[in-house]
Protein backbone atom coordinates (compact mmCIF):
# COMPACT_ATOMS: atom_id res chain seq x y z
CA UNK A 1 0.00 0.00 0.00
CA UNK A 2 2.72 2.44 0.91
CA UNK A 3 4.34 1.60 -2.42
CA UNK A 4 1.45 2.82 -4.53
CA UNK A 5 0.48 5.64 -2.23
CA UNK A 6 3.90 7.23 -1.90
CA UNK A 7 2.65 10.39 -3.60
CA UNK A 8 0.24 11.01 -0.72
CA UNK A 9 3.07 10.63 1.77
CA UNK A 10 5.13 13.15 -0.17
CA UNK A 11 2.28 15.62 -0.43
CA UNK A 12 1.40 15.39 3.25
CA UNK A 13 5.08 15.91 4.08
CA UNK A 14 5.02 19.01 1.87
CA UNK A 15 1.88 20.24 3.63
CA UNK A 16 3.51 19.89 7.02
CA UNK A 17 6.62 21.73 5.81
CA UNK A 18 4.38 24.60 4.70
CA UNK A 19 2.50 24.62 7.98
CA UNK A 20 5.77 24.52 9.91
CA UNK A 21 7.06 27.56 8.01
CA UNK A 22 3.85 29.44 8.90
CA UNK A 23 4.26 28.65 12.59
CA UNK A 24 8.02 28.97 12.97
CA UNK A 25 8.74 32.21 11.09
CA UNK A 26 8.03 35.68 12.40
CA UNK A 27 8.53 37.36 9.04
CA UNK A 28 5.15 38.00 7.44
CA UNK A 29 6.39 37.33 3.90
CA UNK A 30 7.86 33.98 4.94
CA UNK A 31 4.55 33.19 6.59
CA UNK A 32 2.81 33.85 3.28
CA UNK A 33 5.31 31.59 1.49
CA UNK A 34 4.61 28.80 3.97
CA UNK A 35 0.87 29.33 3.67
CA UNK A 36 1.03 29.14 -0.12
CA UNK A 37 3.17 25.99 0.03
CA UNK A 38 0.59 24.45 2.38
CA UNK A 39 -2.30 25.34 0.08
CA UNK A 40 -0.57 24.23 -3.10
CA UNK A 41 0.31 20.84 -1.65
CA UNK A 42 -3.37 20.38 -0.74
CA UNK A 43 -4.26 21.23 -4.36
CA UNK A 44 -1.75 18.64 -5.59
CA UNK A 45 -3.22 16.10 -3.19
CA UNK A 46 -6.69 16.78 -4.57
CA UNK A 47 -5.51 16.38 -8.17
CA UNK A 48 -3.57 13.21 -7.40
CA UNK A 49 -6.83 11.70 -6.12
CA UNK A 50 -8.20 11.88 -9.67
CA UNK A 51 -5.31 9.99 -11.24
CA UNK A 52 -6.39 6.73 -12.81
CA UNK A 53 -3.68 4.16 -13.45
CA UNK A 54 -2.57 4.29 -17.10
CA UNK A 55 -5.10 7.07 -17.60
CA UNK A 56 -4.35 9.92 -19.95
CA UNK A 57 -5.24 13.59 -19.58
CA UNK A 58 -9.02 13.94 -19.77
CA UNK A 59 -9.16 15.27 -23.33
CA UNK A 60 -11.25 13.14 -25.68
CA UNK A 61 -9.10 11.51 -28.33
CA UNK A 62 -9.60 8.40 -30.48
CA UNK A 63 -6.30 6.80 -29.41
CA UNK A 64 -7.05 6.90 -25.70
CA UNK A 65 -9.35 4.58 -23.82
CA UNK A 66 -8.68 5.38 -20.13
CA UNK A 67 -8.88 8.91 -18.83
CA UNK A 68 -7.95 10.38 -15.49
CA UNK A 69 -10.79 11.83 -13.48
CA UNK A 70 -11.35 15.44 -14.62
CA UNK A 71 -13.53 16.68 -11.76
CA UNK A 72 -10.79 17.21 -9.14
CA UNK A 73 -8.87 19.32 -11.64
CA UNK A 74 -11.89 21.53 -12.27
CA UNK A 75 -12.49 21.93 -8.56
CA UNK A 76 -8.88 22.81 -7.93
CA UNK A 77 -9.03 25.46 -10.62
CA UNK A 78 -11.52 27.24 -8.36
CA UNK A 79 -9.41 26.57 -5.30
CA UNK A 80 -6.32 28.00 -7.04
CA UNK A 81 -8.24 31.21 -7.69
CA UNK A 82 -9.12 31.33 -4.00
CA UNK A 83 -5.48 30.68 -3.14
CA UNK A 84 -4.27 33.50 -5.40
CA UNK A 85 -6.82 35.87 -3.85
CA UNK A 86 -5.65 34.89 -0.37
CA UNK A 87 -2.03 35.48 -1.34
CA UNK A 88 -2.94 38.88 -2.82
CA UNK A 89 -4.83 40.00 0.29
CA UNK A 90 -2.03 38.71 2.53
CA UNK A 91 0.69 40.53 0.59
CA UNK A 92 -1.39 43.71 0.43
CA UNK A 93 -1.75 43.55 4.20
CA UNK A 94 1.99 42.99 4.55
CA UNK A 95 2.61 46.15 2.49
CA UNK A 96 0.19 48.16 4.65
CA UNK A 97 1.87 46.77 7.78
CA UNK A 98 5.27 47.81 6.45
CA UNK A 99 3.93 51.32 5.78
CA UNK A 100 2.46 51.58 9.28
CA UNK A 101 5.24 49.91 11.28
CA UNK A 102 8.34 50.08 9.13
CA UNK A 103 8.92 46.35 9.58
CA UNK A 104 7.41 43.00 8.63
CA UNK A 105 8.86 41.09 11.61
CA UNK A 106 6.18 40.09 14.11
CA UNK A 107 8.50 40.58 17.08
CA UNK A 108 9.46 44.13 16.04
CA UNK A 109 5.82 45.04 15.41
CA UNK A 110 4.88 44.02 18.93
CA UNK A 111 7.79 45.96 20.40
CA UNK A 112 6.86 49.10 18.46
CA UNK A 113 3.24 48.87 19.63
CA UNK A 114 4.40 48.54 23.22
CA UNK A 115 6.81 51.47 22.84
CA UNK A 116 4.03 53.68 21.64
CA UNK A 117 1.79 52.56 24.49
CA UNK A 118 4.54 53.25 26.99
CA UNK A 119 5.08 56.72 25.54
CA UNK A 120 1.36 57.49 25.56
CA UNK A 121 0.80 56.55 29.18
Amino acid sequence: MSGTHYVYWLLFALMMIGLYVVISHGNLLKKMIGLTLFQVSVFLFFISLGKVEDGSAPIISPEVETYSHPLPQVLILTAIVVGVATLAVGLALAVRIFEAYGTVEEQDMQERDEDRHGAAS
Binding site: L35, Q39, V42, F45, L49, V82, T86, V89, A94, E106
Partner: protein, 491 residues
Amino acid sequence: MIANLPVLQVLIPLGCAPLCVLLRRRSLAWLVFLMAALGSLACAAVLARQVAAHGPLHYAVGGWAPPYGIEFVVAGYNTPVLLVVSGAAVAAAVYSLGSVRTEIDDRRAPLLYTFLCLTLGGLLGLTVTGDVFNAFVFLEISSLSTYAMVALGPRRRALPAAFRYLVIGTVGATFVLIGIGLAYAVTGTLNMADLAARLAAADSDRALYAAAVFVFVGLAVKAAVFPLHAWLPGAYGEAPSTVSTFLAATSTKVALYVLCRLTFTVFGAGLVFGTMPVGRIGLLAGGLAAVAASAVACFQTDLKYLLAWSSIAQIGYILAGISLGTAAGVSAAYLHLINHAVIKASLFAAAGLVLVRLGSVQLSALAGLGRRMPWTFAAIVIAGLGLVGVPPTAGFAGKWALASALIEAGQWPVLVAMLVSSLLALGYIGRIVETAWFREPASVAEPSGAPASMTAVVWVLVAVSVVFGLDAALPASLAESAAEALLNGGG
Protein backbone atom coordinates in the same frame (compact mmCIF):
# COMPACT_ATOMS: atom_id res chain seq x y z
CA MET B 1 -40.64 33.22 -7.81
CA ILE B 2 -40.49 31.36 -4.50
CA ALA B 3 -38.66 28.51 -6.20
CA ASN B 4 -35.85 30.93 -7.07
CA LEU B 5 -35.56 32.58 -3.67
CA PRO B 6 -32.81 30.30 -2.26
CA VAL B 7 -30.39 31.47 -4.94
CA LEU B 8 -31.77 34.99 -5.18
CA GLN B 9 -30.92 35.90 -1.60
CA VAL B 10 -27.30 34.94 -2.23
CA LEU B 11 -27.13 36.64 -5.62
CA ILE B 12 -28.55 39.99 -4.47
CA PRO B 13 -25.65 40.85 -2.14
CA LEU B 14 -23.04 39.31 -4.44
CA GLY B 15 -24.38 41.36 -7.35
CA CYS B 16 -24.52 44.52 -5.26
CA ALA B 17 -20.84 44.23 -4.29
CA PRO B 18 -19.38 45.46 -7.63
CA LEU B 19 -22.06 48.17 -7.75
CA CYS B 20 -20.67 49.60 -4.51
CA VAL B 21 -17.20 49.84 -6.05
CA LEU B 22 -18.50 51.46 -9.22
CA LEU B 23 -20.65 54.06 -7.46
CA ARG B 24 -17.69 55.41 -5.46
CA ARG B 25 -19.94 57.60 -3.32
CA ARG B 26 -20.38 56.87 0.36
CA SER B 27 -24.11 57.54 0.41
CA LEU B 28 -24.86 55.58 -2.76
CA ALA B 29 -22.80 52.59 -1.66
CA TRP B 30 -24.57 52.70 1.69
CA LEU B 31 -27.94 52.68 -0.04
CA VAL B 32 -26.93 49.70 -2.17
CA PHE B 33 -25.81 47.72 0.86
CA LEU B 34 -28.98 48.61 2.74
CA MET B 35 -31.07 47.43 -0.21
CA ALA B 36 -29.04 44.21 -0.46
CA ALA B 37 -29.50 43.54 3.25
CA LEU B 38 -33.22 44.31 3.16
CA GLY B 39 -33.62 42.14 0.06
CA SER B 40 -31.88 39.22 1.75
CA LEU B 41 -33.93 39.66 4.90
CA ALA B 42 -37.15 39.67 2.89
CA CYS B 43 -36.06 36.51 1.05
CA ALA B 44 -35.09 34.85 4.33
CA ALA B 45 -38.44 35.73 5.93
CA VAL B 46 -40.44 34.40 2.97
CA LEU B 47 -38.28 31.26 2.89
CA ALA B 48 -38.72 30.67 6.62
CA ARG B 49 -42.48 30.91 6.25
CA GLN B 50 -42.45 28.65 3.22
CA VAL B 51 -40.27 26.01 4.90
CA ALA B 52 -42.40 26.06 8.05
CA ALA B 53 -45.55 25.54 5.99
CA HIS B 54 -44.44 23.22 3.18
CA GLY B 55 -41.16 21.61 4.22
CA PRO B 56 -37.65 21.91 2.74
CA LEU B 57 -36.93 23.68 -0.55
CA HIS B 58 -34.35 22.39 -3.03
CA TYR B 59 -32.86 24.45 -5.81
CA ALA B 60 -30.60 23.06 -8.53
CA VAL B 61 -28.20 25.84 -9.55
CA GLY B 62 -28.09 26.34 -13.29
CA GLY B 63 -30.64 23.58 -13.81
CA TRP B 64 -28.05 20.81 -13.25
CA ALA B 65 -29.74 18.11 -11.25
CA PRO B 66 -28.00 17.04 -8.04
CA PRO B 67 -25.81 15.15 -7.20
CA TYR B 68 -23.88 16.42 -10.26
CA GLY B 69 -24.84 20.06 -10.05
CA ILE B 70 -24.66 22.36 -7.07
CA GLU B 71 -27.75 22.19 -4.92
CA PHE B 72 -29.08 24.84 -2.53
CA VAL B 73 -31.22 23.51 0.30
CA VAL B 74 -33.38 25.58 2.60
CA ALA B 75 -34.79 23.59 5.49
CA GLY B 76 -35.64 23.96 9.15
CA TYR B 77 -31.98 23.77 10.14
CA ASN B 78 -30.82 26.80 8.20
CA THR B 79 -33.74 29.22 8.20
CA PRO B 80 -32.85 30.52 11.72
CA VAL B 81 -29.29 31.16 10.54
CA LEU B 82 -30.51 32.93 7.39
CA LEU B 83 -32.73 35.18 9.49
CA VAL B 84 -29.92 35.95 11.95
CA VAL B 85 -27.38 36.75 9.22
CA SER B 86 -29.64 38.91 7.06
CA GLY B 87 -31.17 40.60 10.12
CA ALA B 88 -27.68 41.42 11.41
CA ALA B 89 -26.83 42.84 7.99
CA VAL B 90 -29.82 45.19 8.11
CA ALA B 91 -28.82 46.30 11.61
CA ALA B 92 -25.23 46.83 10.47
CA ALA B 93 -26.42 48.81 7.44
CA VAL B 94 -28.49 51.25 9.50
CA TYR B 95 -25.79 51.44 12.16
CA SER B 96 -23.07 52.20 9.61
CA LEU B 97 -24.82 55.43 8.61
CA GLY B 98 -23.54 57.10 11.75
CA SER B 99 -20.56 54.88 12.52
CA VAL B 100 -18.65 54.64 9.25
CA ARG B 101 -18.57 58.43 8.86
CA THR B 102 -16.45 58.77 11.98
CA GLU B 103 -14.10 55.86 11.37
CA ILE B 104 -13.43 55.55 7.66
CA ASP B 105 -12.57 58.23 5.11
CA ASP B 106 -14.73 58.89 2.07
CA ARG B 107 -12.38 57.16 -0.32
CA ARG B 108 -12.48 53.83 1.52
CA ALA B 109 -16.10 53.82 2.66
CA PRO B 110 -17.52 52.41 -0.61
CA LEU B 111 -14.96 49.59 -0.36
CA LEU B 112 -16.17 48.77 3.14
CA TYR B 113 -19.70 48.43 1.79
CA THR B 114 -18.38 46.21 -1.01
CA PHE B 115 -16.80 43.91 1.55
CA LEU B 116 -19.96 43.93 3.65
CA CYS B 117 -21.99 42.87 0.59
CA LEU B 118 -19.48 40.12 -0.23
CA THR B 119 -19.39 38.85 3.34
CA LEU B 120 -23.17 38.82 3.49
CA GLY B 121 -23.42 36.93 0.20
CA GLY B 122 -20.71 34.49 1.26
CA LEU B 123 -22.28 33.74 4.63
CA LEU B 124 -25.75 33.29 3.15
CA GLY B 125 -24.34 31.05 0.42
CA LEU B 126 -22.46 28.99 3.01
CA THR B 127 -25.71 28.58 4.90
CA VAL B 128 -27.90 27.43 2.02
CA THR B 129 -25.49 25.36 -0.02
CA GLY B 130 -25.95 21.62 -0.17
CA ASP B 131 -22.58 20.94 -1.77
CA VAL B 132 -19.40 20.60 0.30
CA PHE B 133 -17.00 22.07 -2.24
CA ASN B 134 -19.33 24.99 -2.86
CA ALA B 135 -19.38 25.47 0.92
CA PHE B 136 -15.58 25.81 0.86
CA VAL B 137 -15.81 28.47 -1.86
CA PHE B 138 -18.44 30.48 0.01
CA LEU B 139 -16.43 30.10 3.21
CA GLU B 140 -13.46 31.69 1.48
CA ILE B 141 -15.55 34.46 -0.14
CA SER B 142 -16.85 35.53 3.24
CA SER B 143 -13.48 35.07 4.97
CA LEU B 144 -11.40 37.01 2.45
CA SER B 145 -13.70 40.01 2.56
CA THR B 146 -13.73 39.78 6.36
CA TYR B 147 -9.92 40.00 6.49
CA ALA B 148 -10.05 43.14 4.37
CA MET B 149 -12.79 44.66 6.55
CA VAL B 150 -10.84 44.04 9.75
CA ALA B 151 -7.83 45.78 8.19
CA LEU B 152 -9.95 48.93 7.74
CA GLY B 153 -10.03 49.40 11.52
CA PRO B 154 -9.08 52.84 12.83
CA ARG B 155 -5.92 51.86 14.73
CA ARG B 156 -2.77 50.54 13.09
CA ARG B 157 -3.00 47.38 15.20
CA ALA B 158 -5.93 46.40 12.98
CA LEU B 159 -3.38 45.42 10.31
CA PRO B 160 -1.49 42.73 12.27
CA ALA B 161 -4.84 41.53 13.64
CA ALA B 162 -6.19 41.14 10.10
CA PHE B 163 -3.00 39.41 8.96
CA ARG B 164 -3.15 36.99 11.87
CA TYR B 165 -6.81 36.27 11.09
CA LEU B 166 -5.88 35.69 7.44
CA VAL B 167 -3.13 33.18 8.27
CA ILE B 168 -5.15 31.25 10.86
CA GLY B 169 -8.35 31.43 8.83
CA THR B 170 -6.66 30.19 5.66
CA VAL B 171 -5.08 27.26 7.49
CA GLY B 172 -8.54 26.43 8.85
CA ALA B 173 -10.21 26.66 5.45
CA THR B 174 -7.46 24.54 3.88
CA PHE B 175 -8.03 21.91 6.56
CA VAL B 176 -11.69 21.88 5.51
CA LEU B 177 -10.52 21.42 1.91
CA ILE B 178 -8.32 18.42 2.88
CA GLY B 179 -11.30 16.90 4.67
CA ILE B 180 -13.53 17.43 1.64
CA GLY B 181 -10.86 15.84 -0.56
CA LEU B 182 -10.67 12.76 1.65
CA ALA B 183 -14.46 12.43 1.80
CA TYR B 184 -14.52 12.75 -1.96
CA ALA B 185 -11.86 10.05 -2.28
CA VAL B 186 -13.98 7.70 -0.17
CA THR B 187 -17.32 8.39 -1.84
CA GLY B 188 -16.77 10.10 -5.18
CA THR B 189 -19.43 12.71 -4.56
CA LEU B 190 -19.64 16.25 -3.20
CA ASN B 191 -23.38 16.67 -2.72
CA MET B 192 -24.21 16.59 0.99
CA ALA B 193 -27.28 14.36 0.73
CA ASP B 194 -25.49 12.00 -1.64
CA LEU B 195 -22.40 11.99 0.60
CA ALA B 196 -24.54 11.04 3.58
CA ALA B 197 -26.06 8.09 1.70
CA ARG B 198 -22.71 6.81 0.47
CA LEU B 199 -20.88 7.41 3.75
CA ALA B 200 -23.43 5.25 5.53
CA ALA B 201 -22.45 2.42 3.20
CA ALA B 202 -18.69 3.09 3.48
CA ASP B 203 -18.69 2.79 7.25
CA SER B 204 -15.46 2.21 9.19
CA ASP B 205 -13.06 3.48 6.57
CA ARG B 206 -9.99 5.11 8.07
CA ALA B 207 -9.87 7.84 5.41
CA LEU B 208 -13.41 8.73 6.45
CA TYR B 209 -12.33 9.36 10.05
CA ALA B 210 -9.47 11.51 8.79
CA ALA B 211 -11.92 13.45 6.60
CA ALA B 212 -14.19 14.14 9.55
CA VAL B 213 -11.27 15.22 11.75
CA PHE B 214 -9.90 17.64 9.15
CA VAL B 215 -13.31 19.17 8.47
CA PHE B 216 -14.14 19.56 12.16
CA VAL B 217 -10.78 21.10 13.06
CA GLY B 218 -11.01 23.50 10.12
CA LEU B 219 -14.51 24.60 11.05
CA ALA B 220 -13.52 24.87 14.72
CA VAL B 221 -10.87 27.39 13.67
CA LYS B 222 -13.48 29.39 11.75
CA ALA B 223 -15.91 29.22 14.68
CA ALA B 224 -13.17 30.27 17.15
CA VAL B 225 -13.71 27.19 19.29
CA PHE B 226 -11.36 27.20 22.26
CA PRO B 227 -8.33 26.60 21.97
CA LEU B 228 -8.40 27.65 18.28
CA HIS B 229 -9.69 31.13 19.06
CA ALA B 230 -6.44 33.12 18.83
CA TRP B 231 -7.61 35.25 15.90
CA LEU B 232 -10.89 36.41 17.38
CA PRO B 233 -10.01 39.02 20.06
CA GLY B 234 -7.79 41.02 17.72
CA ALA B 235 -10.16 40.77 14.77
CA TYR B 236 -13.25 41.86 16.72
CA GLY B 237 -11.38 44.32 18.91
CA GLU B 238 -9.69 46.22 16.10
CA ALA B 239 -12.32 46.09 13.33
CA PRO B 240 -14.47 49.16 12.63
CA SER B 241 -17.55 49.18 14.91
CA THR B 242 -19.96 48.33 12.10
CA VAL B 243 -17.84 45.33 11.18
CA SER B 244 -17.49 44.02 14.73
CA THR B 245 -21.25 44.37 15.21
CA PHE B 246 -21.95 42.41 12.04
CA LEU B 247 -19.27 39.76 12.56
CA ALA B 248 -20.09 39.16 16.22
CA ALA B 249 -23.61 38.21 15.22
CA THR B 250 -22.79 36.15 12.15
CA SER B 251 -19.39 34.71 11.20
CA THR B 252 -18.71 32.29 14.04
CA LYS B 253 -22.41 31.41 14.18
CA VAL B 254 -22.46 30.34 10.54
CA ALA B 255 -19.35 28.21 11.07
CA LEU B 256 -21.09 26.52 14.02
CA TYR B 257 -24.14 25.93 11.86
CA VAL B 258 -22.02 24.25 9.17
CA LEU B 259 -20.50 22.11 11.92
CA CYS B 260 -24.03 21.04 12.91
CA ARG B 261 -25.08 20.42 9.35
CA LEU B 262 -22.08 18.23 8.53
CA THR B 263 -22.26 16.38 11.85
CA PHE B 264 -25.90 15.41 11.68
CA THR B 265 -26.81 15.31 8.00
CA VAL B 266 -23.53 14.25 6.34
CA PHE B 267 -21.23 12.25 8.63
CA GLY B 268 -24.12 11.14 10.79
CA ALA B 269 -24.50 11.26 14.57
CA GLY B 270 -23.67 7.54 14.83
CA LEU B 271 -20.20 8.03 13.36
CA VAL B 272 -19.43 11.36 15.00
CA PHE B 273 -20.72 10.68 18.50
CA GLY B 274 -20.59 6.87 18.53
CA THR B 275 -17.41 5.75 16.77
CA MET B 276 -15.47 9.00 17.13
CA PRO B 277 -15.12 10.87 20.45
CA VAL B 278 -16.11 14.21 18.90
CA GLY B 279 -18.93 14.73 21.39
CA ARG B 280 -16.65 14.33 24.39
CA ILE B 281 -13.98 16.59 22.87
CA GLY B 282 -16.63 19.19 22.07
CA LEU B 283 -17.99 19.14 25.60
CA LEU B 284 -14.49 19.46 27.01
CA ALA B 285 -13.58 22.34 24.68
CA GLY B 286 -16.92 24.03 25.34
CA GLY B 287 -16.58 23.78 29.10
CA LEU B 288 -12.97 25.01 29.05
CA ALA B 289 -13.90 27.88 26.73
CA ALA B 290 -16.74 28.96 29.00
CA VAL B 291 -14.48 29.22 32.06
CA ALA B 292 -11.13 30.28 30.58
CA ALA B 293 -12.39 32.90 28.12
CA SER B 294 -14.71 34.46 30.71
CA ALA B 295 -11.80 34.63 33.13
CA VAL B 296 -9.62 36.35 30.52
CA ALA B 297 -12.48 38.77 29.76
CA CYS B 298 -12.41 39.91 33.40
CA PHE B 299 -8.87 41.24 32.95
CA GLN B 300 -9.32 43.15 29.69
CA THR B 301 -8.82 46.90 29.71
CA ASP B 302 -10.51 47.54 26.37
CA LEU B 303 -14.28 47.20 26.12
CA LYS B 304 -14.25 45.68 22.62
CA TYR B 305 -11.60 43.11 23.56
CA LEU B 306 -13.63 42.27 26.67
CA LEU B 307 -16.69 41.61 24.53
CA ALA B 308 -14.64 39.54 22.08
CA TRP B 309 -13.37 37.27 24.86
CA SER B 310 -16.88 36.91 26.15
CA SER B 311 -17.90 35.78 22.64
CA ILE B 312 -15.39 32.92 22.85
CA ALA B 313 -17.01 31.80 26.10
CA GLN B 314 -20.48 31.95 24.56
CA ILE B 315 -19.30 29.93 21.56
CA GLY B 316 -18.25 27.35 24.15
CA TYR B 317 -21.85 27.14 25.40
CA ILE B 318 -23.21 26.66 21.89
CA LEU B 319 -20.58 24.02 21.10
CA ALA B 320 -21.40 22.15 24.32
CA GLY B 321 -25.07 22.09 23.29
CA ILE B 322 -24.25 20.70 19.86
CA SER B 323 -21.82 18.16 21.33
CA LEU B 324 -24.54 16.59 23.45
CA GLY B 325 -26.00 15.27 20.21
CA THR B 326 -29.48 15.14 21.72
CA ALA B 327 -32.55 16.96 20.42
CA ALA B 328 -32.67 19.08 23.58
CA GLY B 329 -28.99 19.96 23.29
CA VAL B 330 -29.09 20.96 19.63
CA SER B 331 -32.26 22.97 20.08
CA ALA B 332 -30.73 24.76 23.10
CA ALA B 333 -27.60 25.45 21.04
CA TYR B 334 -29.70 27.04 18.28
CA LEU B 335 -31.68 29.07 20.81
CA HIS B 336 -28.49 30.34 22.40
CA LEU B 337 -27.01 30.99 18.95
CA ILE B 338 -29.95 33.24 18.01
CA ASN B 339 -30.09 35.01 21.37
CA HIS B 340 -26.37 35.50 21.64
CA ALA B 341 -26.22 36.94 18.13
CA VAL B 342 -28.74 39.60 19.16
CA ILE B 343 -27.10 40.31 22.52
CA LYS B 344 -23.53 40.47 21.28
CA ALA B 345 -24.48 42.61 18.29
CA SER B 346 -26.19 45.08 20.62
CA LEU B 347 -23.15 45.17 22.91
CA PHE B 348 -20.67 45.75 20.08
CA ALA B 349 -23.02 48.39 18.67
CA ALA B 350 -23.12 50.09 22.08
CA ALA B 351 -19.32 49.89 22.31
CA GLY B 352 -19.15 51.59 18.91
CA LEU B 353 -21.45 54.29 20.22
CA VAL B 354 -19.12 54.85 23.17
CA LEU B 355 -16.18 55.02 20.76
CA VAL B 356 -17.91 57.70 18.67
CA ARG B 357 -18.83 59.78 21.69
CA LEU B 358 -15.60 59.51 23.68
CA GLY B 359 -13.01 58.59 21.09
CA SER B 360 -11.92 55.60 23.18
CA VAL B 361 -13.23 52.30 24.49
CA GLN B 362 -10.56 51.84 27.17
CA LEU B 363 -12.33 51.05 30.43
CA SER B 364 -10.28 53.76 32.16
CA ALA B 365 -11.79 56.34 29.80
CA LEU B 366 -15.31 55.30 30.79
CA ALA B 367 -14.83 56.23 34.45
CA GLY B 368 -17.76 58.12 35.90
CA LEU B 369 -19.57 58.51 32.59
CA GLY B 370 -22.65 56.52 33.61
CA ARG B 371 -24.35 59.72 34.71
CA ARG B 372 -23.41 61.72 31.64
CA MET B 373 -24.34 59.03 29.13
CA PRO B 374 -27.12 57.26 31.06
CA TRP B 375 -28.89 55.78 28.05
CA THR B 376 -25.84 54.33 26.37
CA PHE B 377 -24.72 52.66 29.58
CA ALA B 378 -28.25 51.50 30.38
CA ALA B 379 -28.22 49.64 27.04
CA ILE B 380 -24.84 48.09 27.86
CA VAL B 381 -26.10 46.96 31.25
CA ILE B 382 -29.34 45.44 29.94
CA ALA B 383 -27.51 43.56 27.19
CA GLY B 384 -24.75 42.66 29.65
CA LEU B 385 -27.27 41.09 32.00
CA GLY B 386 -28.35 39.04 29.00
CA LEU B 387 -24.77 37.74 28.74
CA VAL B 388 -24.81 36.79 32.41
CA GLY B 389 -28.17 35.09 31.89
CA VAL B 390 -30.32 37.03 34.34
CA PRO B 391 -34.05 36.45 33.83
CA PRO B 392 -36.01 37.82 32.02
CA THR B 393 -33.38 38.52 29.33
CA ALA B 394 -32.86 36.40 26.23
CA GLY B 395 -29.59 35.06 27.64
CA PHE B 396 -31.55 33.39 30.41
CA ALA B 397 -33.83 31.50 28.01
CA GLY B 398 -30.84 30.09 26.11
CA LYS B 399 -28.85 29.17 29.20
CA TRP B 400 -31.88 27.62 30.88
CA ALA B 401 -32.51 25.39 27.86
CA LEU B 402 -28.84 24.49 27.73
CA ALA B 403 -28.68 23.73 31.46
CA SER B 404 -31.71 21.44 31.27
CA ALA B 405 -30.23 19.65 28.26
CA LEU B 406 -26.95 19.16 30.16
CA ILE B 407 -28.78 17.85 33.24
CA GLU B 408 -30.81 15.50 31.08
CA ALA B 409 -27.60 14.11 29.61
CA GLY B 410 -25.93 13.95 33.02
CA GLN B 411 -23.03 16.23 32.03
CA TRP B 412 -22.49 17.78 35.46
CA PRO B 413 -18.91 19.04 34.99
CA VAL B 414 -19.97 21.07 31.93
CA LEU B 415 -22.95 22.44 33.85
CA VAL B 416 -20.62 23.55 36.65
CA ALA B 417 -18.32 25.18 34.08
CA MET B 418 -21.31 27.05 32.67
CA LEU B 419 -22.36 28.32 36.09
CA VAL B 420 -18.81 29.42 36.94
CA SER B 421 -18.63 31.17 33.58
CA SER B 422 -21.89 32.99 34.28
CA LEU B 423 -20.50 34.20 37.60
CA LEU B 424 -17.37 35.41 35.82
CA ALA B 425 -19.61 37.17 33.29
CA LEU B 426 -21.26 38.92 36.21
CA GLY B 427 -17.72 39.91 37.21
CA TYR B 428 -16.79 41.58 33.93
CA ILE B 429 -20.17 43.22 33.40
CA GLY B 430 -20.02 44.36 37.03
CA ARG B 431 -16.63 45.90 36.30
CA ILE B 432 -18.12 48.01 33.50
CA VAL B 433 -20.94 49.12 35.81
CA GLU B 434 -18.52 49.90 38.62
CA THR B 435 -16.25 51.95 36.32
CA ALA B 436 -19.09 53.86 34.72
CA TRP B 437 -21.05 54.74 37.83
CA PHE B 438 -18.84 54.54 40.90
CA ARG B 439 -15.54 56.04 39.73
CA GLU B 440 -14.61 59.68 39.54
CA PRO B 441 -14.57 60.93 35.94
CA ALA B 442 -11.05 60.93 34.52
CA SER B 443 -11.62 63.92 32.25
CA VAL B 444 -14.05 66.80 32.16
CA ALA B 445 -14.54 66.57 28.40
CA GLU B 446 -18.22 66.39 27.57
CA PRO B 447 -19.12 63.35 25.43
CA SER B 448 -20.18 64.38 21.95
CA GLY B 449 -23.73 63.74 20.72
CA ALA B 450 -24.84 60.29 19.66
CA PRO B 451 -25.79 59.75 15.99
CA ALA B 452 -29.48 58.85 15.88
CA SER B 453 -28.97 55.86 13.57
CA MET B 454 -26.52 54.20 15.96
CA THR B 455 -28.64 54.84 19.05
CA ALA B 456 -31.68 53.45 17.25
CA VAL B 457 -29.89 50.22 16.29
CA VAL B 458 -28.53 49.72 19.80
CA TRP B 459 -31.98 50.12 21.35
CA VAL B 460 -33.79 48.02 18.76
CA LEU B 461 -31.31 45.18 19.35
CA VAL B 462 -31.61 45.53 23.12
CA ALA B 463 -35.40 45.55 22.80
CA VAL B 464 -35.32 42.42 20.64
CA SER B 465 -33.14 40.67 23.23
CA VAL B 466 -35.61 41.57 25.99
CA VAL B 467 -38.60 40.49 23.90
CA PHE B 468 -36.89 37.18 23.14
CA GLY B 469 -36.36 36.80 26.88
CA LEU B 470 -39.95 37.56 27.88
CA ASP B 471 -41.60 35.62 25.11
CA ALA B 472 -39.26 33.01 23.68
CA ALA B 473 -41.94 31.55 21.39
CA LEU B 474 -40.41 32.69 18.08
CA PRO B 475 -36.74 31.76 18.66
CA ALA B 476 -37.74 28.59 20.53
CA SER B 477 -39.96 27.38 17.71
CA LEU B 478 -37.19 28.13 15.17
CA ALA B 479 -34.66 26.27 17.32
CA GLU B 480 -36.92 23.28 17.82
CA SER B 481 -37.71 22.89 14.14
CA ALA B 482 -33.98 23.22 13.42
CA ALA B 483 -33.10 20.45 15.85
CA GLU B 484 -35.87 18.29 14.47
CA ALA B 485 -34.75 18.81 10.87
CA LEU B 486 -31.13 17.99 11.78
CA LEU B 487 -31.74 14.92 13.89
CA ASN B 488 -34.30 13.37 11.58
CA GLY B 489 -31.99 13.99 8.64
CA GLY B 490 -34.76 15.97 6.99
CA GLY B 491 -33.70 17.99 3.99
